[in-house]
C-alpha cells in the first residue's frame, strides 16, 4: 500500500471514501460497466484500502465516461467519478507525460464526434 499515493488521490479528488456504505448503486448505474476491469464501487473500496497502483495500471481509468451518473445517484454523496479521475490524474502525472497530445487530435477526428468529446478527452488524458 502506497500511503502517499492514497493521500494524493484523496486530496485531489476531495472525496471521503469512508462515507461509502457499499450499496453498489454507482456500479449499477454505470454505462461503461462492461468496459471496465474495475468498477466504480471497486475504485472507492480499493482507494480506501490504498491499492492504487493496481488501479493506475488498469485500462479502467480511461473507460470512465465522466458522465457523473454515479455522482448523481450515490445515496451517500461519495462521488466515485471524482475518485476515478484522481487515479487517472495520478497515472498521467507519474508517466510524466500526457496520454494524448493536442497534435494527436486532428488524426482522431471524425464528423460524428461531438466537440464535447474533444474537451473531455483533453481533460481525461492530459495533465
Amino acid at each position: 500500500m502506497n500511503k502517499n499515493l492514497k493521500e494524493q488521490v484523496l486530496r485531489s479528488s476531495g472525496v471521503n471514501v469512508l462515507k461509502c456504505m457499499r450499496c453498489g448503486k454507482c456500479s449499477a448505474t454505470c454505462p461503461s460497466y462492461d468496459e471496465m476491469e474495475y468498477h466504480p464501487h471497486q475504485f472507492v473500496y480499493m482507494v480506501e484500502k490504498g491499492d492504487i497502483g493496481t488501479l493506475m495500471k488498469s485500462e479502467s481509468i480511461y473507460k470512465c465516461l465522466t458522465c457523473f451518473a454515479c455522482v448523481e445517484r450515490c445515496p451517500r454523496g461519495v462521488e466515485p467519478a471524482k475518485v476515478v479521475e484522481a487515479v487517472r490524474l495520478a497515472a498521467v502525472r507519474q508517466q510524466g507525460g500526457n496520454r494524448l497530445e493536442p497534435t494527436d487530435i486532428p488524426a482522431l477526428l471524425d464528423e460524428d464526434l461531438p466537440q464535447q468529446a474533444i474537451v473531455t478527452a483533453m481533460r481525461k488524458y492530459a495533465k
Binding site: C23, G24, A28, T29, C30, D34, A69, R73
Partner: protein
C-alpha cells in the same frame, strides 16, 4: 450574615481525573460567606449526602453549593437532602463541574480554574437565594391522544382500562391509521385487519373513550395536569349522530372519479365516501373538493337517498375546548414522496409502485380484490423486482439519513406472499444489508430465501427503464458476483423511506416539545425515559418518535399509557415555585411578555394606582398566573423595563453569577 457550605464531588474519576477537587474546595473556602468547603468521592451517595446534612445542622448553613454533575442529574437529590436537614430546598445551588467542565477539558490546570469560577458563580448566586415554597396544582383526570393509528388506539384503550376518560383526535374520517391499509403482518403473516379492526371497535364501544374523527388539534395551552386544548372538528357535511353508515349515498353519488387515498390512489371513490368497510366511526364524509352540490349547488343526490336525513351541506367547522391532565402524541409516519428519484421511473411507469401501494394491490379489499395485477394493463406480473433503502440511509437532501427499520421485514413478507400465491413468479430483492433484529425476524427472512427461493441479491438498482413492450428494464449491480445485471421485469416495488407525519412539526410547536432534525419527537432520555417528552405531561407513542414496526409500536403505546396513567392517578402535582412575577410599579404595559409566554400564563389587568400627588390613575399591568407559569424565563428577557423577574433565577442573581465569573 451568610453561612454557605461548599461540597465538591470527585464523581470517582469523572471529575477528579481532570479537576483538582481539593484545590477547588480550598479556593472556594476563601469566598465571602463560605464557612465550610469539603470534597468527597461520591457526594450523591448516602454518606456524601450525610456530609451535607450534618454540615447544615452543625454549621447552621444558610446556603449550600454542590460542585458536581449537571443539576438535571442530582439537583433533586441534594434539595431533598437539604430539606430533610431543615434547610429550604431552594437554598441549594449546583455548579456543573462535570458535563460543563471535566468531561470537555483535557488540561487539569484549565479545568481546575474553570471549576473554581463555576463554583464562585454558584456561591454568588446562593447568597441571594430566597426560600421558596411549592404549591400544589390539581390534575384533570382526562387524557388526550393525538392520532388514531394502532399506537393511539392502544394507548387510549390502556388508559380507559385504568378507569380514566380519554379522547382520541384523528385527522382522517376513520381511525386505524397505516395498519388498516396493510394486508398481512410479519413475522406471523396474520391478517392486519383481523387483529386491528376488533381493537378499533373496542375503542369506539368503550364508554370512557371519545373519538373525534376528522378533527385536528388547533391550540394547546396550560401545563402538566391542566392542559386546555382546542380541537377543530372539520365539517364532514354529514351529521355523525344520524348517519347509520349504510353506504347508499356512496353508491348513488354521481361523482365517482375521486382518487381513493385509502387505496393509495390506485382506484377511485365517490365524492361522499366511507374510507373502508370497517371504518370507525362508520360515517360518511363529503369531500368538498369534488362534491358537485358544494361546488356548484347542483346535485343533492346523497341528501335525497339518505333515509336518516344525515346530510347537511351547511355544516361548518366547529371548535370544542376541553381540559386534559395528560397528552399522548401518536401522529405516526408516512412514506416519503419519490418524485426526486428519477432513476427509478416512479413517476413515469405505473408498474413501479411503493411497498404501501403493493399492500393495497394484494389486499382483498384493494383495487383488484386481492389478485396481484399490474396497474398498467391488469395482467399478472411474472418477474418482480424489489428495491430496498429507497431514500433511507441517504446522505443527501433527497432522502433520509436514518434506516427506516421496517422495510427489510415487509419486503421479505411481500416476496414470500407473492411466491406462495403465484409460484410461477420470479422475485428479486436488491439489498444493501438485510437488517432483521427482532423476535423470529431473521428466521422469517431466511424462510423467504430458503423455503420460498426469493432471489436476494447484494447490490443496488441503478436505473429503471420502462420499455415500449410494457416490460421494465432494471439495471442493477450484483456485488458478490461482481457483475452488472439487466432484469426484464414486469413490476418494480420500491421500499420508500418513512418520515414523520407533516402535522407533527406544528403540533410540536403547540406542545412546546422538542423534535430532532428529522422531525421525530425527542424523548426525555434516549434510554431511560423513552416514552416521555422533555415537556412534563406530554408522552410519545409509536412512530412519531422514530421508525417502528407494529409490535414495537404497540409496546410503546402501552408504555406511554402507563406513564399517563401514573400522572392521572395523582390528585395534585407539586408545582415548580420558580415562577415569574411582575413589579407593577415598573411595568409599562407593553405586552412584550404576554407575546413570548409559551404557556399563556401572563394576562394584562387594569389596576388603580395612587400617584404621589394623591390622585389615582388606572394603568395596564402584567399579571402572572403562578399555577400556569413554568419558569422558562422568556418574559424576563423580553421585558424592556426590567419589571418581570423570575423567582429562583432573579435578574440580580443572574447578574451576581456573571459578575463572579468576570471578576
Amino acid at each position: 450574615m451568610q453561612r454557605i457550605g461548599v461540597f465538591v464531588c470527585h464523581c470517582g474519576t469523572n471529575i477528579a481525573a481532570t479537576v483538582d477537587v481539593k484545590a477547588v474546595a480550598e479556593a472556594l473556602g476563601h469566598e465571602a460567606g463560605v464557612v465550610i468547603a469539603q470534597d468527597y468521592q461520591y457526594m450523591c451517595s448516602e454518606s456524601g449526602q450525610e456530609l451535607v446534612k450534618s454540615a447544615i445542622r452543625e454549621q447552621k448553613l444558610t446556603g449550600v453549593v454542590i460542585c458536581s454533575c449537571s443539576p438535571r442529574m442530582h439537583e433533586n437529590t441534594f434539595r431533598k437532602a437539604a430539606a430533610s436537614a431543615g434547610l429550604n430546598p431552594y437554598l441549594v445551588e449546583v455548579a456543573n463541574i462535570r458535563e460543563q467542565c471535566s468531561w470537555i477539558h483535557k488540561d487539569i490546570a484549565t479545568a481546575t480554574e474553570k471549576a473554581i469560577i463555576l463554583g464562585k458563580a454558584a456561591v454568588a448566586k446562593v447568597a441571594l437565594n430566597t426560600p421558596l415554597t411549592s404549591m400544589e396544582s390539581p390534575v384533570v383526570k382526562r387524557a388526550l391522544v393525538i392520532g388514531g393509528g394502532i399506537a393511539g388506539i392502544q394507548t387510549a384503550l390502556d388508559i380507559a382500562e385504568a378507569g380514566f376518560d380519554v379522547d382520541i383526535v384523528e385527522k382522517n374520517p376513520t381511525i386505524g391509521g397505516k395498519m388498516a391499509q396493510i394486508d398481512k403482518t410479519f413475522p406471523t403473516l396474520d391478517c392486519a385487519a383481523c387483529i386491528l379492526t376488533p381493537k378499533m371497535v373496542e375503542a369506539s364501544q368503550n364508554e370512557r373513550i371519545t373519538i373525534h374523527s376528522f378533527s385536528e388539534v388547533e391550540d394547546v395551552k396550560g401545563f402538566v395536569g391542566n392542559f386546555t386544548v382546542k380541537i377543530k372538528k372539520k365539517a364532514r357535511f354529514v351529521d355523525e349522530t344520524k348517519c347509520t353508515g349504510c353506504g347508499l349515498c356512496t353508491e348513488k353519488c354521481p361523482m365517482k372519479k375521486v382518487p381513493n387515498e385509502f387505496n393509495m390512489g390506485l382506484d377511485n371513490r365517490s365524492a361522499i365516501y366511507i374510507p373502508f368497510a370497517q371504518a370507525v366511526p362508520k360515517v360518511a364524509t363529503i369531500d368538498p373538493n369534488y362534491c358537485m352540490m358544494l361546488k356548484t349547488g347542483k346535485c343533492g343526490v346523497c341528501s335525497k337517498v339518505c333515509s336518516a336525513g344525515a346530510i347537511d351541506y351547511k355544516q361548518q367547522d366547529t371548535i370544542i375546548e376541553q381540559q386534559y391532565g395528560a397528552i399522548v402524541v401518536a401522529t405516526g409516519f408516512n412514506p416519503i414522496k419519490l418524485d426526486k428519484y428519477d432513476e427509478f421511473a416512479y413517476n413515469q411507469c405505473p408498474d413501479v409502485v411503493t411497498s404501501l401501494e403493493l399492500e393495497r394491490l394484494m389486499n382483498a379489499a384493494g383495487p383488484n380484490g386481492g389478485t396481484l395485477l399490474r396497474p398498467s394493463d391488469k395482467t399478472h406480473p411474472h418477474t418482480i423486482v424489489f428495491v430496498q433503502c429507497v431514500g433511507s440511509r441517504c446522505d443527501d437532501e433527497k432522502g433520509k439519513p436514518y434506516c427506516s427499520k421496517i422495510c427489510c421485514m415487509y419486503t421479505a413478507k411481500h416476496a414470500m406472499l407473492i411466491r406462495e400465491k403465484y409460484p410461477d413468479t420470479e422475485v428479486y430483492v436488491f439489498y444493501i444489508d438485510v437488517r432483521t433484529p427482532g423476535k423470529n425476524f431473521d428466521e422469517f427472512y431466511r424462510r423467504a430465501v430458503e423455503q420460498y427461493n426469493v432471489h436476494y441479491i447484494k447490490g443496488m438498482v441503478g436505473k429503471v427503464t420502462p420499455k415500449s413492450d410494457g416490460k421494465i428494464d432494471v439495471q442493477a449491480s450484483d456485488l458478490l458476483a461482481n457483475e452488472q445485471l439487466h432484469i426484464n421485469a414486469d413490476m418494480v416495488v420500491l421500499a420508500a423511506a418513512i418520515e414523520p407525519d407533516k402535522t407533527a412539526r406544528p403540533l410540536a410547536t403547540m406542545l412546546t416539545t422538542q423534535m430532532d432534525t428529522n422531525d421525530f419527537f425527542t424523548e426525555a432520555h434516549p434510554k431511560l425515559r423513552p416514552v416521555e417528552s422533555a415537556t412534563a405531561g406530554i408522552f410519545l407513542s409509536g412512530a412519531c418518535q422514530g421508525p417502528k414496526d407494529i409490535p414495537e409500536t404497540v409496546a410503546q403505546g402501552s408504555a406511554a399509557a402507563a406513564k399517563a396513567i401514573g400522572l392521572l392517578c395523582k390528585n395534585s402535582i407539586t408545582c415548580n415555585p420558580c415562577t415569574a412575577h411582575s413589579d407593577e410599579l415598573m411595568c409599562n404595559g407593553c405586552s412584550s411578555c404576554e407575546k413570548v409566554c409559551p404557556y399563556g400564563a401572563i394576562t394584562y389587568i387594569d389596576k388603580e394606582f395612587r400617584m404621589p400627588d394623591r390622585t389615582t390613575k388606572i394603568r395596564r399591568v402584567a399579571s402572572v398566573n403562578p399555577a400556569v407559569c413554568q419558569g422558562c424565563g422568556a418574559c424576563t428577557v423580553a421585558c424592556p423595563s426590567g419589571a418581570m423577574d423570575l423567582s429562583g433565577f432573579s435578574n440580580s442573581q443572574i447578574m451576581a453569577e456573571v459578575d463572579a465569573i468576570c471578576k
